[in-house]
């Protein structure tokens, strides 16, 4: 009897420890294609994760924005257009929750790419941001060369394209994409689902902790 009680305590203790370690260890995955490459010094192999390539766009203030502005930050990206008749306002509403939650935390940024580069000029984007009550440098609304926007959408693993048959003339995904300070994709969320936004906010917190520890190691 005594023995089995002791055993029970042991098992319970181990279980608890395991739950604790699990929680501490929850790390966001690296999404996208991984490549295994030989190290330059020939000492073994490295895993190279899918990465957003360098970019250069113009934001609602007419300023040039590049990947350097996002280096070391955590950011949420999406693709939209201001005259979108379907899901965009909902996506903007969800992005707005992230914006408000991290308003005073300069480690978190937002990046909305317009896929209607013809209509969404700098002043149009500026007016849109003002109506939403948000501003750069926290939330950049960017435009650029049409091909550049569509090319980078592929790296963010979202669909974007012109389609005369679609409402508003464009098809695009409603995804919000979470990117870490090294431009790796760490999460994809449904930008029309408030539950998913809660998860996104939790995941950003997690990523911020991870980012902090990466900096400590260096």
């Amino acid at each position: 009897m005594k023995y089995s009680l002791k055993k029970t305590f042991w098992v319970a203790g181990l279980l608890l420890a395991c739950v604790a370690c699990k929680q501490e260890e929850r790390r966001l995955p690296y999404l996208g294609e991984k490549k295994v490459v030989a190290k330059e010094d020939g000492s073994g192999v490295d895993t190279v994760y899918h990465q957003i390539p360098p970019f250069r766009f113009v934001n609602q203030e007419g300023q040039t924005i590049t990947d350097k502005d996002f280096a070391g930050k955590v950011y949420v990206a999406d693709f939209f257009f201001t005259t979108c008749p379907t899901i965009c306002p909902k996506m903007s509403a969800e992005m707005l929750k992230v914006y408000e939650h991290f308003q005073d935390d300069e480690r978190v940024l937002l990046l909305s790419h317009s896929i209607d580069t013809k209509y969404d000029s700098v002043p149009v984007l500026k007016a849109y941001a003002e109506k939403l009550g948000v501003s750069a440098p926290k939330w950049h609304f960017v435009t650029g060369k049409r091909e550049d926007i569509y090319d980078i959408a592929e790296y963010y693993m979202v669909t974007a394209g012109e389609d005369p048959a679609a409402p508003g003339g464009y098809i695009h995904s409603g995804a919000l994409i979470l990117v870490d300070g090294q431009r790796h994709i760490r999460g994809v969320y449904n930008g029309t689902d408030p539950e998913d936004t809660k998860k996104l906010i939790e995941d950003i917190e997690l990523l911020l902790k991870e980012n902090a520890s990466v900096h400590d190691e260096k």
């Binding site: 005259t83 903007s92 939403l132 409402p167």
Partner: protein, 138 residues
Amino acid sequence: MMKNEIWWWSLIPLLFVALFLLNLYVFSGEHKGKALYTRHCASCHGDQGEGLRQLIPPLNASDFVQKYPGRIACIIRYGMQGEVVVNGKTFNQPMPANPQLSEVEIANIVNYVLTAWDNDLPDRSPAQIKKDLQQCKE
């Protein structure tokens, strides 16, 4: 044994009542209005008709809806453009047209909006909606 069977039979009228009520709900305009609203309007105006900042005006407790219930049908069919003031705030962002919606569908949405959330405005009859649509400006 006998007693058991009688007990079962007595459930049948109850089942009919339940089916009838379900029927009423499924085929009522209100239910359809809500489904149509969710599909065609909620992504912009919000599930609770709350709107979005200065970008999209609210439909819940909107003084515009209160003042011009007869214009909602036209706005749904032809969209809306230019400045509009709702509850003291100015909005100016095009709302797209919905040419695919039938007169009955429009009537269901209008009546849903008029009575949903905190709104408690009188219903518009099918005849009124028909007239509303004939008098659209665009």
